[in-house]
Symmetry: C2
Subunit: 286 residues, 2 copies
Amino acid sequence: MPDRLLPHLTRASAPLTREVPVVNEHGDASTLSIPAERALTVYVDKRELVTLMTLGAQPELLVLGYLRNQRLVRSVEEVESITVDWDVGAAAVKTREGIANVEERTAKRVVTTGCGQGSVFGDLMDEVDQIALPPDARLTQAQLYGIVNAIRLQESTYKSAGSVHGCALFRGEEMLIFVEDVGRHNAIDTIAGWMWMQDPSAMGAADKVFYTTGRLTSEMVIKSAQMGVPIVVSRSGITQMGHAVAERVGLCAIGRATGRHFYCYSASQRLVLQPELAGPKLRAAA
Amino acid sequence: MPDRLLPHLTRASAPLTREVPVVNEHGDASTLSIPAERALTVYVDKRELVTLMTLGAQPELLVLGYLRNQRLVRSVEEVESITVDWDVGAAAVKTREGIANVEERTAKRVVTTGCGQGSVFGDLMDEVDQIALPPDARLTQAQLYGIVNAIRLQESTYKSAGSVHGCALFRGEEMLIFVEDVGRHNAIDTIAGWMWMQDPSAMGAADKVFYTTGRLTSEMVIKSAQMGVPIVVSRSGITQMGHAVAERVGLCAIGRATGRHFYCYSASQRLVLQPELAGPKLRAAA
């Protein structure tokens, strides 16, 4: 799409882990890797917007996806550049024409579950009913197992240091991007930023599957639906609001996905069952 | 303390789990318990402040602790009553004399890690350096094992439905309160509210230990320190900012605490090691 004006992004990098001294139960002193976590203050056209706490792997995409998922920017083309400087912990966003009514649009807070009190500007739920997910999107049980296996094999900060959440975007069982962050909302926002850079028209989400290590809370389901991704997979479970939103928009939510086990909570017509792949029934059918 | 004016709290209750239909890997349909999650909009003196997404077990204490941890209320006596009505999803807070400058004090957002982008009004880090934790607070390894065991035995929504975080407050190995919520910041806020009701002067935190199933992020460590609790224990790990804050305030952070294993990340002088209780070294000393 040569006529699309994509934003210019820096590629700021910083170490993702650090070593700290620890003492264990035997009284042995050693060192352990823990994930980095740094403050990134976002300025939009020189106006301070928010401070995000992040692992810092892909800060530019995080900021872009944050602006997208908070509905502060409606098109990737509105953003001219995002410049991250870790020396000062700042992300400078330059827009082409400014953001209208930014004061007003960031005034209303809905503090959502996440694992904490995630802030979402504006009333996301108001937008839920406007979402139309592609009715024909399907995932086979074999592809689901492929996704779970790809995550299992993925090298990660989690494996070396723990304490981060992972998210990934798949096409069928093909992993397109894998993102980790100390906050799982940051991870999904980073994927939202990546999707915008790859597909500015945001038309290409219909055949995608979103994976998260975290729980399927309302905010996670809403963000996936807003991105147009009709299927989400988690190794964790689902909360009531996540379930309610998934049912409402017809999003297929699959949880407890480890090994060959899973539960499909909603829109199960999107999951093409292949029970012959599940192996013997070792547990009671419940 | 008969001369203390404690707020009047309702005792609103609502179901903590609900059953939803699921399909598993064998194609078997059944039902599964998932945790409830409901929106609670907080009004302070009839002014809308925030909407919290919560499991809803102890909403009045959650709101009280939220106001405390957000530094919107400096003393429990400032609050006259908290009235929760689940029919309309509202918590009405009545203060005795109003909250000064509430507009201004809720204007600055620091979006913290949590597992999401937790909102904290004001600049918590500015307050960290003013915190003086009791220098003599100690926990023995035997007490730590008692805490881990008490959590293991606790009946919980997590055991029946998963997808919630648990927090608890201990004195030594005695569990004083156990709270679960879909958001772990909600769980710690609820404990903060409970502590204020029990101990309005907030002088009694020195011999307490805070337990969380969630990670020790900066926000969790800061909240514990603000509550005056000098020792935190988690079954999960710690992030870099959590570690940095714990070191700065001399808070003893213990993570990966399961069975007899743990790591002490900071202020290890507060942990009285008893390696003879740890059992044989089955793993490499690392």
